[in-house]
Each structure stands twice: as C-alpha cells, then as structure tokens.
C-alpha cells in the first residue's frame, strides 16, 4: 500500500457507502498508470468496448471521490478472473475495487425485476438450484439436457443454449460421505476440514472422493463441516448480500473446525481463493481473518506439510498424457506451476501446460448469453494449445474451467487430485 505518511488534511471517506464501506485510497494512489493490468486482462484483449481494470479500479475510484458519479455498467463485463491483481507491480487491490464497485452497481444501478438481475441471481446461487437437482438427478439431467428447455432458458433467462448443463451426480459427495460413515481415520495431530463447494458435491463428487483418499493415505482425519457457497459466483455478479449470508455460515462452521485443530482445504481454486483473499477483503465477520489464515488449496497443503513430491517420485500410473490449464484463481494464489511440477515425478504421467491464457468461462460469466461469445474468444488460445498438445485428457483444478475445456475441445477433463489418487492410493 501507499508509503505516504498520513496528512492531517486527509480523512477517510466512504466512496461506496452502500457496499462494504471500503476505503481503498492507498491502492488508488499506488496506481501509476503503467497499464500492465490492461494488457493482462483477457476480456479487454477481445472486447473493445471493455475499458479494462485500470479504469474500473483506481480511475473510477478517483472519479467517485469528488462527484457521486454513477458506476459505469462495463463493470458487469468484468469476469472476476482477477488476473489484474497478480499483474499489478504496485499491488493496487484491483479485484477488491471491482468487487465493491460491482456490488454497488448491482445494488443501486440495476432494476431488481429485470431479466438480467434475476438471471444473475439464479446463476450466482447455483448451490440452491443444484440442491434441488441433486434430489432427482436423473430427471434433472433429462430436463436440463432437453433442447427445448435450453431454448427456453436462453429466450427467457438469457442463459446460453450453446453450453450443455453439467450433469448432476447420482450420489452427491455428502451422501457418499454419510454412507461410508464419515472419516475412516481419526487423528488429533493431522486433521483437515474439507470445503468441497457446490460442484464437487453435486456434479463431480469423484474429485472430493479422490481428495479424501489422498489425504487419508497421508494419515489425515478429514472433517466435512456444513457449508454454503464460497461466494465466488456472487462476487462475480455483484450479489454481495447473498455472499455475506453464505459467508456467515461458512466462517462460523470453519472456525469451529479450526478450533478442533483442523486446517481448511479446498479442491477448487476459486473456493480457496475466495476464503483466503476475498472474504477478509470484503467482509468484517468475526474470525474471518482466522479462517483466511488457515485455508489452503488441497495440494498446496500436502506440499507444505508432507513430502508429497517425494511420495509421487516413487509412484506410477498407466501412461497418460494431460493438457493442463492453470485456472486464473490458481495463478492468483501463486499455484500456477504446482500441478505440472507434482506430476513430473509420477512415472507414466505426462502433463503439458497449455499456456498462460485464461479459459474464458470464469464461472457464471460464460453462461450468460451476451457473454458467451466473449468467453469463447478468450478461450480460443487455450483450445488451440490443447488441440496441438494432443493429450489423452485435459486437466485443471477449476470445475468451470473444466467445462470450458471440454466444451471447446471435446476432451474429458480430470482434476490433478484424481491423477494423484491413481498414483498414491492402491
């Protein structure tokens, strides 16, 4: 943040009084207009109408300070990939600025009865829809895959018909967890609380199962506390009050697990990023800093606390080539090279990084009819690299990046944890 000593003349101001009352002046002052964030922004690269993070963050912040200027609606074109955060050489908190601006825009500038608002709220509360869908998975899958329903979704809700809805699993992760009787290992010294999020519960429980088995192979007791959405899609759609409500539950439940001696782990990089960065940036809940300080991405945790690399160096799988995409939210946590590095040690596994471009889907962004084309343009470079790599399968930590990879190339996509389960658990 700013090195400037506080002047007596300056008093903090609530520039966005209706959001979370952030004062990000230090960040705006640190911006020296080098444009690195704009040149990193995947939306700005393909959408000429999008002004880019430099405008949306510090410049708009400065405008708001003098006059109560309305927030530009281009803030809804931001996909919340947060690449601008890791790009900025001065540490300007661009994503925090965007999240608060988007919250303010949605709260004050959007008609709550408009189609766009209602659709965005439905998309950002995917967990609620998925909860119902998971009760009758066969019926839900049949309904959602119907081209009639897809057309209706596009016309009435603005949800693109181009993408196939993800299938609901026959048995959710939590159902599997209950059925097996919970943790198979008890340990006072090695304990983790698994934040599974929506997708690995309702759609890809095999990722959650792989995670449990990998951690149990290192002797960990796994807890699965009650939880709600990490808030990532809510941040991306400006639904900050929904996100705060979910955060209240999550912080309370995860704090209880931390008191029981657990650290928090997540298999989705957007969930781990949300808990450790966006939560303390956007909410002032009691113990939220504690949750942030104890949250890890799952493989990151094992790299730090166990000799995961050493264990993998002595492992092998059936020969398989993977095209790996590092999600933007893995990049933001400094984890972009982790999966490639770990799989280098596995005999039979060959993983090629398909480059540093964004996948383009960014959670709910690519599901919006008016953003679908932009998301596919952003992803084009990744699709091209994947085709060139000619893998057996794709690989990524992010469930919606996996959707995009499959949608754009046709390859099946696995999570690194699934490959590591194959390597370590027999």
């Amino acid at each position: 943040m700013s090195d400037a000593e506080t002047s007596d003349e300056f008093k903090p101001v609530e520039v966005f009084p209706d959001s979370e009352s952030m004062d990000l002046r230090g960040g705006a002052d640190d911006c020296y207009k080098c444009s690195t964030c704009d040149s990193e922004c995947p939306v700005a690269a393909v959408d000429d109408d999008f002004p880019g993070p430099k405008f949306q963050g510090p410049e708009q912040w400065r405008l708001k300070r003098k006059e109560d200027t309305e927030i530009d609606d281009s803030v809804m074109s931001c996909s919340n990939c947060m690449r601008c955060d890791s790009a900025c050489p001065s540490g300007v908190p661009l994503s925090q600025m965007h999240n608060t601006a988007r919250g303010s825009f949605v709260e004050n500038g959007m008609d709550k009865l408009s189609r766009e608002y209602i659709r965005n709220r439905i998309l950002s509360n995917y967990g609620t829809l998925a909860w119902f869908g998971s009760k009758v998975p066969r019926l839900a899958n049949a309904v959602m895959s119907s081209s009639v329903v897809q057309t209706v979704n596009e016309k009435f809700m603005g949800i693109t018909a181009e993408r196939e809805f993800p299938e609901f699993a026959q048995q959710t992760f939590r159902e599997w967890w209950s059925e097996r009787g919970g943790a198979e290992i008890e340990s006072d010294e090695k304990r983790v609380a698994y934040f599974h999020g929506c997708y690995s519960n309702y759609n890809t429980p095999e990722v959650g199962k792989a995670m449990v088995r990998v951690f149990e192979s290192f002797g960990y007791e796994v807890m699965v506390p009650p939880q709600k959405c990490s808030g990532t899609p809510m941040f991306a759609n400006g639904m900050l009050s929904d996100a705060r409500r979910a955060a209240e539950t999550n912080v309370a439940e995860l704090s209880a697990a931390i008191e029981d001696g657990a650290d928090v782990i997540a298999s989705c990089t957007s969930c781990s990023l949300s808990l450790r960065q966006e939560y303390p940036e956007l909410f002032d809940l009691e113990r939220i800093e504690d949750v942030s300080a104890h949250t890890y991405e799952a493989l990151e945790y094992l790299r730090i606390h166990e000799d995961l690399s050493g264990a993998l160096d002595e492992s092998e799988i059936e020969p398989e080539r993977y095209a790996y995409h590092a999600p933007c939210h893995a990049r933001n946590q400094g984890l972009a090279g982790q999966a490639i590095e770990l799989l280098d040690g596995v005999e039979g596994a060959e993983a090629e990084d398909v480059g540093d471009s964004c996948s383009g889907i960014s959670g709910t962004y690519g599901w919006k009819e008016e953003k679908y084309d932009t998301s596919m343009k952003i992803g084009a470079e990744m699709f091209h690299h994947m085709e060139e790599a000619e893998p057996d399968a794709g690989m990524t930590e992010c469930p919606t990046c996996a959707m995009q990879m499959e949608h754009g190339t046709g390859y099946e996509v696995r999570h690194p944890l699934q490959v590591i389960e194959d390597a370590l658990v027999s």
Partner: protein, 423 residues
C-alpha cells in the same frame, strides 16, 4: 516437509531470469519466485550496456569505458569479461529476436520522443531504424496512439541526424474505440482480418496502402512498436513487401510489445532449463542460522509459507520494481533488510535541480566482488545470498543507460556463484 530447491531466485525480471537460467545450466535445481508480473513488459525492449559516462556525448565503445567506472559500480564488481559473457548468453537465448551482437560499438536507436538512445542490443524489428544508418525516414503515427507524436518526433530527430526525417499521423485501419490500447492494434495486425471488403484488403495491406500515400522519397518507415504480437515478423515483412522499403518499430513506453516478446522468450528459456517459476508469491520474511539463510517466507494470503534453499539470489528490482523501499526515515531493502548506503540526513539524498546527478539514483545494496550484500561494516550480510540487477546500488542506470547490461551481467555472475557454492 518443505518446498525446497538448490537455488532460490527472488524476482522475475531480467536479472532474476538470467541468474536462474545460469544456475540451472550449472546443474542446480532452481526455483524462481516473483511477487507480481515483472516490469519487462513495461521496458522498451532495448538492451543497453553503457550509453554515457558523465559526458553529453554517447559512448561509442561501452566495454572500453568500464575500466573507468567507479569501484562500487556493478560492472567493476563482475568485470568486463562477465559483461561480455552475459551478452553472449543473451544472444544465445534471444538471438532470433535481437541484433547487435556483431559489434562492440553501441547502436543509436531512435526513441518515441524523437531522441536517440545508445544501446548494445536492439530488437530486429528496430534494426532498420537505427540512426547510424543514413536512409531518409518517414515516421508514421496513429491518431489512436497518443503517446507517439510522429511529426514531433520526426522534427526532433531531423534536427540531430544527418538524414531527412518526416512524420505523419494517420488513422489505423478498422474501427477501434478512441482509447484502444496498443495491444489491441497489435492483435488486429496479427489477425489481418478483412478491413476493406470492396478491395479485399486485410489490416496489413490496408495499413500499407494508407502509408504509401505519404511515402514520397523516404527509404524506410518507422511505426510505434505495435507491429504484431505473435506474428510480428510476418507483419513487418508484409508491410515491407507492400511498401518496398524497410520497416521498423520505434521502441515505446508501457505497455511495450518488444518488452512482452522478450519476456516470453526469457520465460520459455526458464521452462526449457527446468526452472520452477512461481508468481504471485511476495517474499516477506526469512529464517537464518549462523549467518546463512535457511528459508524465505512467502506470503500466501495472511499466512507465510517457507521455501527452503541452499543459495539465494535477490533480484527484486529497484524503486520501480519495489526491491528498494523508502520513507522519510530511510531507504531500505525490504526482504532481508540488507544495508542500503545513504546519507543520514534526508536533504542530502537529492539535489534541487531535478536533472542533476542525483544521489538517490545510486541507492541500492552494496555488494562484494562475489555480489554478496554487505552490512554497514562491510561484511557480507549472509554467506549464501547474492544480489543482482536494479536492487544493486553504486550506479545511476537512467543517466548512464546501463540497466539491462547490469541486470544481465550481475544475474549471470550471481547464478554462477550460487551454483559454485552449492555444497
């Protein structure tokens, strides 16, 4: 357990990348951790070695002048042969992008401000524009690229070089918003989509057609550095074919396409050498034992993660790259708290006349001949730490035009010494 490697390089710019490549080539397992995107993408792309040494005239032969530099200058620490060796390494890595290795004479490259800058290596895309060549020149600016005023740059150049320089500002082909960024134009030239359906011209041909109207007697044409990203060579060749004269890029400020191309090349080389690169990882602390650093702490969102290594290289940059920090109380190196020589009295940090030889421009860590940072009594701070690049003090890179050469040569030596000292 721990995340560990033989050599840990802190900082991902030119010095850090060079140190990591050199250490990896020596057989070490190397990890490079960077806080943010490095500032290479903001750099002009020119690789300067030594442009000035106190006088108003640029140096013709940079290597010969190194012996005359003060003892504390980084070039004196590493020696002139290391400077040559580091440029040879650079030529090996980036030789298909860069020229200048054929001579030890500085080239003079026009800048977008209409001056000439002495440089040791320059992008191939800038080669046809060197001021040491004598062809009459047309500079082409675009209404949309406000940072390059071609008529103004041409007027300034024309008054200082022995050939004619004219400047013209035209519209870039296609529909772009008034403040479209330069990378957008580069992408349009890469894609070369139809812009004129009636005559079926792509962006490149449409651009050449507009420039041809102004070509006159000019024997070369310079553009702001936006002639393509991935396809920059093909773009330039297409324009040269259409115009019938050599085409060159004038190096620009941020965001800089030549800087991005150089960054891509360096990082491809890091990958090829097996260096583990992690960005988004600010180093915020360290542990030490008996004068040796044992690990550094990386900030991962309100928690510190230890990274262990045998040897460490500090390549965090200068003031702009945040490797040197300052407040009213003093100037400091924030990672290891290495000593930064400076006058105690703050008013002695600077002279009033802004373009004078400024003390603060030389602030940075002081090192021994092995590039180990020294404490205030002249002893190495740690036995297994080297410093490289802009974090070093003892020279004024802006005044003498030496930033890239210092980064390359000190990065090379830091990487070599780290590798040699592995137990």
């Amino acid at each position: 357990m721990a995340i560990e490697s033989d050599v840990l390089v802190i900082g991902g710019g030119l010095a850090g990348a060079t140190a990591a490549i050199e250490a990896a080539r020596g057989g070490a397992s190397v990890r490079l951790v960077a806080h943010k995107e490095n500032t290479l993408r903001n750099a002009s792309g020119l690789i300067d070695v030594l442009g000035y040494n106190g006088g108003d005239e640029p140096l013709v032969e940079p290597f010969e002048a190194i012996a005359d530099l003060p003892d504390e200058h980084p070039y004196r620490k590493v020696g002139v042969e290391a400077v040559r060796e580091s440029l040879a390494l650079f030529d090996e890595i980036a030789g298909d992008l860069y020229e200048g290795g054929h001579t030890e004479t500085n080239a003079l490259s026009p800048t977008y401000g209409g001056r000439v800058k002495p440089t040791g290596r320059y992008p191939k895309s800038a080669a046809a524009g060197l001021a040491s060549r004598t062809e009459d020149t047309l500079l082409v600016g675009f209404e949309i690229v406000t940072s390059f005023d071609a008529p103004l740059a041409a007027e300034r150049l024309d008054s200082s070089v022995p050939f004619d320089v004219r400047g013209v500002t035209i519209r870039f082909p296609g529909e772009f918003r008034a403040d479209a960024r330069i990378t957008r134009l580069a992408t349009a030239l890469d894609a070369d989509e139809l812009r004129d359906r009636e005559q079926r011209l792509g962006t490149r041909e449409a651009l050449a057609a507009r420039v041809a109207e102004y070509l006159g007697d000019a024997e070369r044409v310079g553009f702001p550095a936006l002639l393509g990203d991935d396809e920059h060579q093909a773009v330039r060749e297409a324009l040269e074919t259409e115009l019938g004269v050599p085409v060159f890029e004038v190096p620009m400020g941020p965001p800089s396409l030549p800087g991005m191309r150089l960054e891509d090349r360096l990082y491809e080389e890091l990958d090829a050498e097996g260096v583990r690169v992690e960005s988004g990882n600010p180093v915020v602390g360290y542990t030490a034992d008996d004068g040796r650093i044992t690990a550094v702490s990386v900030d991962r969102g309100r928690r510190e993660v230890p990274y262990h290594a045998e040897q460490f290289v500090l390549a965090t940059g200068g003031l702009v790259g945040k490797g040197i920090d300052s407040s009213r109380e003093g100037v400091s190196e924030p990672v290891f708290d290495c000593h930064v020589p400076q006058p105690e009295e703050r008013y002695e940090w600077f002279h009033d006349r802004v373009f004078d030889d400024q003390p603060y421009a030389r602030f940075g860590v002081s090192v021994d001949d092995g590039l180990r940072p020294l404490d205030s009594s002249g002893e190495p701070e740690f036995s297994n730490l080297r410093a490289a690049g802009a974090v070093l003090g003892g020279y004024d890179m802006a005044r003498e035009k030496s930033a890239s050469g210092v980064s390359l040569s000190t990065g090379l030596v830091a990487g070599q010494r780290a590798n040699e000292d592995l137990q």
